[in-house]
């Protein structure tokens, strides 16, 4: 069975972007990003259990510019996935299912997730 010759349904490049679509795509993308980011959490715990030398290596990475960018992105993905996931749980109870509600929920999710991300990093940078 040849897969390449079969007709495909319209995909990302065909549809006009909508809030529904953006939420769905970002929910999945943030989930995959968090999966990759979880490696950093495991690295931290294993390195800390392994001893001061291993932990210093992790800490050097985490506090480097690249490490900080990774952590910032991870925080953003985490809060987005958390807010969007909460919407999914609410939708499972039969709420927020109309398009206008999705548009509104989307704006709230993006604003809350961005605020929490910036708030957390602001707090840490302020108190550290």
């Amino acid at each position: 069975m040849s897969l390449s010759s079969r007709p495909l349904s319209p995909h990302l490049q065909i549809w006009k972007w909508s809030m529904n679509m953006a939420l769905s795509i970002f929910h999945r993308a943030s989930g995959v990003a968090l999966s990759v980011g979880s490696l950093m959490l495991v690295w931290m715990l294993v390195a800390a259990a392994n001893g001061s030398e291993s932990y210093a290596c992790f800490r050097d990475f985490a506090t480097s510019i690249f490490g900080q960018i990774c952590l910032f992105g991870w925080t953003g993905a985490l809060f987005f996935h958390l807010c969007s996931g909460t919407r999914h749980l609410l939708m499972d109870t039969g709420r927020l299912l109309t398009i206008p509600q999705a548009e509104k929920a989307g704006v709230i999710i993006f604003v809350v997730a961005a605020s929490l991300t910036l708030g957390v990093w602001g707090c840490v940078k302020f108190f550290y």
């Binding site: 989930g31 259990a49 925080t75 958390l82 957390v120 707090c123």
Partner: protein, 133 residues
């Protein structure tokens, strides 16, 4: 009682021969995704708060050990890891099922994701236990 897909007249003989169709495990998967999602909400909020307090104090090894020396933190962290990695395994499984159409790579990737999630959980959870005692 729900009628099984195999019993319906809608299924083409070829689909029956190939064994295609529902395997009746979707609800179980969906429920577990939702239950871990529910558990993740308080656990993630606790995790972020803990990470913030640790980061604000410089997150040196001495502080990390002190943090996990408290049983409540070690317990919550192991619960966090269990819920998050199970949720991750279920989520990545769906992503692979949706996008990977190569019938050789797909099962290997599905098995890989399950095993990798388990390895990550065990490595992280054991580290927490070691740090806690």
């Amino acid at each position: 009682m729900a009628q099984k897909w195999e019993d319906t007249a809608f299924k083409a003989p070829m689909a029956r021969a190939r064994g295609l169709g529902s395997v009746h495990s979707g609800l179980h998967h969906w429920m577990h995704q939702k239950i871990t999602a529910l558990a993740n909400i308080p656990l993630v909020l606790w995790g972020v708060w803990s990470a913030m307090t640790l980061a604000a104090t410089g997150a040196d090894l001495y502080t990390i050990r002190g943090f996990f020396a408290q049983p409540v933190n070690a317990i919550l962290m192991v619960l966090f890891l269990g819920s998050v990695f199970y949720h991750m395994a279920l989520g990545l499984q769906v992503v692979i099922e949706d996008y990977v159409h190569c019938e050789k790579a797909k099962p290997l990737m599905l098995i890989g994701v399950k095993l990798l999630s388990l390895v990550l959980f065990v490595a992280a959870a054991f580290s927490v236990l070691k740090l806690s005692i």
